[in-house]
Every structure is written in structure tokens, then in C-alpha cells.
């Protein structure tokens, strides 16, 4: 879509590690079974403190739809494309299965999907958002960790959240310019 820049803002303190986002994503996007096959995930942080004062954080994540995407730079056949709205996606017919993108991605956001015969990844559920619906992971989350929207619209919820609260991105030093923002 023209004139839009899609992004997700996450409040990971709300995450209860139920993994409903991963299940919803697999169902919505026909992700094959198997431990290596997923488009989004929840990383479980190390346990903090000592009994009885304990804490643990969870970090849900997926493709960062980078503004400077290493996967697109390295793909020998331009199978990885970037839409004007920022969505990074794979054109399955062009993918040769060299997995260079998998070694280039600092977030391990890609996997090889045997069913479609190509490397696969999160597309922000483009099949849903282009008809005005929310990505499956956003819609299903019981604690509303993820908020999806258009950063080019100053009144969108993602823009308002990023204006109101400080945020961070993952591995900022890689220079990938991620579009998943974690509220601090």
C-alpha cells in the first residue's frame, strides 16, 4: 500500500507467554508443523532474583520488517521484496533455497517452508491487513501486547504510543532499522 509505513508496537511487560500469537499465526498462515517452523515466537528471559523475589520477562517477536533489511540485500534472485508500506516478503517462485537470508537475518526470523518450497517469514498477515483486518497475532493476544498500525498516520495508535512512551528496538547496533518497537 502506498503512503503507509506499517509497524508493531509491543508492551512486552503484558506478555504472559501463552504463545497464542504463535498458534494463531501458524493457523492463519498455514505454517507447517515442526519445531523449526514458525513466523513468530516468544523468547523466555532468564529467571531473575532469588526465592521468594523472582522475576522473568518474555519477549514476543517476529520479522522486524527492517528499513535496512539485510535479507533483501543478500538474496541472489531478489526473491525478498519490500513493499512501499515496508512489508518485507518472499516471492516463493524466485526463492532458490540458498538460505543466505537466514544467515543474514540477525533476528532468526526466517525458516524454510517445505510446503511452499521457499523461505517463509512474517508478512504482518498482509492478506488480512490489506482488507482492513488486524494481523492474527495482534488480534488473538489476550493481554494486547502488540499494537499494529501505520506510522505515517500521526493519529494512529502506534504513532501515539511511540510519542507518549520511550521505546527500544532489538539489536539497534546492527543498523537494520527495525519497525518493531518495544515500549520501555
Amino acid at each position: 500500500m502506498e503512503n503507509k509505513r506499517f509497524a508493531i508496537v509491543l508492551d512486552s511487560r503484558r506478555c504472559i507467554d501463552c504463545k497464542a500469537c504463535t498458534v494463531a499465526c501458524k493457523a492463519e498462515n498455514n505454517v507447517p508443523l515442526g519445531t523449526d517452523n514458525y513466523r513468530n515466537w516468544v523468547d523466555e528471559g532468564k529467571l531473575r532474583g532469588h526465592y521468594p523475589n523472582l522475576g522473568q520477562s518474555f519477549t514476543p517477536s517476529q520479522c522486524q520488517h527492517c528499513g535496512n533489511a539485510p535479507c533483501a540485500h543478500v538474496c541472489p534472485t531478489k526473491a525478498t521484496e519490500i513493499n512501499p508500506d515496508g512489508i518485507v516478503h518472499v516471492v516463493a517462485d524466485k526463492c532458490i533455497g540458498c538460505k543466505y537470508c537466514q544467515t543474514a537475518c540477525p533476528y532468526n526470523a526466517r525458516y524454510y517452508n517445505e510446503d511452499i518450497g521457499a523461505v517463509d517469514k512474517c508478512t504482518f498477515c498482509s492478506q488480512r491487513i490489506y482488507v482492513g483486518r488486524l494481523p492474527a497475532c495482534v488480534e488473538t493476544c489476550p493481554t494486547k501486547v502488540r499494537v499494529f498500525g501505520d506510522l505515517n498516520d500521526p493519529c494512529s495508535e502506534v504513532s501515539r504510543l511511540l510519542a507518549k512512551y520511550p521505546s527500544r528496538v532489538l539489536k539497534e547496533a546492527q543498523g537494520t532499522k527495525p519497525f518493531l518497537f518495544y515500549l520501555i
Binding site: G34, T35, D36, N37, D43, E44, G45, K46, T59, S61, P70, H73, V74, C75, P76, T77, K78, A79, D93, K94, C95, I96, G97, C98, K99, Y100, Q102, T103, A104, C105, P106, Y107, N108, R110, Y111, Y112, E114, G117, A118, Q174, G175
Partner: protein, 383 residues
């Protein structure tokens, strides 16, 4: 040196061994074609490049090395090196083709690669350049071999010169396939393109030492004067290359541990004390460096058979250098809280099918070379 080490296997035994190796390889290829990569390979989403990529790198490094060493003769005019020209170039062609075969088994869609590398090229991609430059290099090697066989020295010189440039470009670019990945600190930087060229020289010197020994008719230590002179020269050259490689290995390790640079440190320690430690110390250091340097420096072993064993030992060591380089770069998870880590690292062990394809590729390469040796006039004065 024990007498059994001084004799080559007889030709029928050699053909049987290589035949078995090729059958194992064919079984591996059939297994992956029937069941698919995911079922029979142990590569994962986190470690997508395994032993097949390492073998590809090993084979194309060998090809580059052979081309560079042979160019000393018919391109740079060092007369002593001219007599290995045909053998080195035909083996450079065969190692390159077997390398292509190995990577084709790793790619999920090698046919699509042929189509979309032309229809939809990405000039920013080091893998696109790798395919293109090695393609050009293969054509030039074939041209060079043709002119050498026909005894057309001007043509061989021109092709050899272009082939030399193509070999350096293609091979340093192969280093860049790894070196351009900012996400992988163990690989990232300008070290690997330079290191790949140097280690190609070691590979080339090692393999030339072996083919000179095995291509002459008599078994044992006595050789015609011309062979013996060449052996002495290649021994000195190879000693120099190996010391340079020691320098490169040391300066790969020290920046990897000094100050514990994040991710690079963990990958380096995986080689020094972790899951790759046996590969590193036994194969890379002992077989790859210490044994060959010892054999080449000791005047008692600096003869045809000693230099041959130095080459064999270095070649085995270099295979593991490729494997460790490819795997170590991926052992550190891109996500520090990933759930599947053992001692903080991801894990990879090649599957039987992957190993079978490696055995098949190397056996096929040796089989084709043995046939070429028997069927083609490869001696310098034969046309």
C-alpha cells in the same frame, strides 16, 4: 618411514574404493531426492549451512589453489611449474564441478537458480556474484585446458591470465559471502576474503604435491630428476604458505578472544574448547599445520613421499578448517534467550545423508581425475 606407507594402493583397489564412495554418494542423493531436505539433512533454521556448504567451499578452494599454483608456470613463466599445468588445470575443473554438484544438493531449487539468476539478478548479493564469477572461471579453465592440450602456448597464457584474475575475484568474493554478514561477528569483516586466497594457495600447493607424486609411473621414493627438483621447490613454497596460514590462524583467534567481543568470543571458544575443539586441535592444527610443516622442514622427509604426505595431511586439515569456519559462524544463536541452547550454543552434527553426499563428491572427483590421468595425454610434452 614404514614400508606400507611407501606404496600406493594398486589401481584395482583404488577403483573399488572410489566406486564404493560414489555408490555411497548416489545413495545419499537418492535419499534426499525421495525424502526432501528437511527429512534427511541436519541443518536447521538457525544453522542453515552445514557440511555440504563446507565441502563446496573446500572443493572450490582446491580449484582456486590449483589454478593459482599452475599459473606460476604458464602465466608467470616459472619454468619448473610448467610441467604440472595440464594436471593442475584438469583437476581444478573437476574439483570446481564437484563443488557445484555439492552446493546443488544443498540448494532447494538449483534449477530456479539458473533461471532467476539471469531473469532477476541482485547485484548486491555476494552469492549472485559467486555464481557468476565461478561460472566465468569455469569457462576460462576449460579454455586454458584446451589450449594446453593443443600445445597452443599463447592461447594458454591468455586464458591462464584471465583465469588467474577470475580465480582471485571469485575466491575472494566467496570469502565475502561470509564476510559481508554483519549479523555474524565471527565471519564479518575483510579478513575472510584475504584469508580465502591465502588458504587456496596452501590447498593448491598440497594437492599439487600429491598429484606430482601419484602421477609418475614408479612407486616409492626414486623419481626422475625433473620431478625431484620440482618436489624440492614446491616443498619450500608450501612451507612458506603454511607459515603464512599459521599467521592467519593466530590472528583469527586472538581478536576472537581478546576482550571477549560479544558473539565472536563464543564462536571462537567453540573452536578452542567447545564442540569444535577436537576438529580444531587435531585436524586443523596437528594435521593441517604441525605435521606438514614438520615433514617439510625436516631434510630427512623433504623427499617425494614426505612432501606428498605433507600435502595429504594439510588437505585433510584444510577440509576441517572449512567445516569449522562454516559451522562456528552459526553456533551462536541470533536470539540470546533461544530455548534450544546447550552450554549457550546451538548444535549441529551432519546427518548420514549429508556425509554420504560429501564422500560421493570427493570420490567422484578423484575417480574422474584418475580416469583423466589414464585417458588423456597429461605429460607436458604430449599433445
Amino acid at each position: 618411514m614404514p614400508s606400507f606407507l611407501k606404496h600406493r594402493p594398486s589401481l584395482p583397489v583404488w577403483f573399488v574404493l572410489l566406486g564404493i564412495g560414489c555408490v555411497i554418494g548416489i545413495a545419499g542423493v537418492i535419499n534426499v531426492l525421495v525424502h526432501g531436505h528437511a527429512e534427511v539433512y541436519n541443518v536447521t533454521r538457525e544453522i542453515p549451512w552445514g557440511i555440504l556448504i563446507a565441502t563446496y567451499v573446500f572443493l572450490v578452494v582446491s580449484s582456486t589453489g590449483l589454478c593459482l599454483i599452475s599459473s606460476l608456470g604458464h602465466v608467470f613463466g616459472i619454468a619448473k611449474f610448467e610441467f604440472i599445468g595440464k594436471r593442475a588445470i584438469i583437476l581444478a575443473i573437476l574439483t570446481l564441478l564437484c563443488g557445484f554438484g555439492t552446493i546443488a544438493m544443498e540448494l532447494n531449487h538449483p534449477i530456479r537458480m539458473g533461471i532467476y539468476a539471469i531473469l532477476s539478478p541482485n547485484f548486491h548479493s555476494a552469492i549472485w556474484w559467486m555464481g557468476t564469477l565461478y561460472g566465468i572461471y569455469l569457462i576460462l579453465l576449460c579454455g586454458e585446458f584446451y589450449f594446453l592440450m593443443k600445445g597452443m602456448h599463447k592461447g594458454a597464457f591468455a586464458m591462464g591470465m584471465l583465469g588467474f584474475v577470475a580465480a582471485i575475484s571469485a575466491h575472494s568474493n566467496l570469502g565475502a559471502v561470509f564476510g559481508l554478514l554483519e549479523a555474524r561477528p565471527f565471519w564479518h569483516g575483510s579478513f575472510l576474503p584475504i584469508y580465502f586466497i591465502l588458504s587456496a594457495l596452501v590447498s593448491g600447493g598440497a594437492i599439487v604435491s600429491m598429484i606430482v607424486y601419484f602421477s609418475h609411473k614408479d612407486s616409492g621414493e626414486e623419481m626422475p630428476q625433473k620431478y625431484d627438483d620440482f618436489i624440492q621447490t614446491i616443498a619450500k613454497l608450501q612451507t612458506l604458505f603454511l607459515w603464512m596460514l599459521v599467521f592467519f590462524v593466530v590472528w583469527k583467534i586472538i581478536p576472537g578472544v581478546y576482550g571477549h567481543p560479544p558473539e565472536k568470543y563464543e564462536a571462537t571458544m567453540a573452536m578452542l574448547t567447545g564442540p569444535l575443539a577436537f576438529n580444531f586441535w587435531f585436524f586443523e592444527v596437528l594435521l593441517g599445520l604441525v605435521v606438514p610443516v614438520g615433514l617439510l622442514l625436516n631434510p630427512g622427509t623433504r623427499n617425494a613421499i614426505g612432501v606428498m604426505y605433507a600435502g595429504l595431511s594439510a588437505t585433510i586439515g584444510i577440509f576441517f578448517m572449512r567445516y569449522d569456519l562454516v559451522v562456528a559462524g552459526q553456533l551462536v544463536s541470533m536470539r540470546e534467550d533461544a530455548a534450544n541452547l546447550v552450554n549457550g550454543l546451538l548444535q549441529y552434527t551432519p546427518s548420514l545423508t549429508e556425509v554420504a553426499i560429501v564422500v560421493g563428491a570427493i570420490s567422484l572427483c578423484l575417480l574422474l581425475y584418475t580416469l583423466a590421468e589414464r585417458l588423456l595425454p597429461l605429460n607436458p610434452d604430449e599433445h
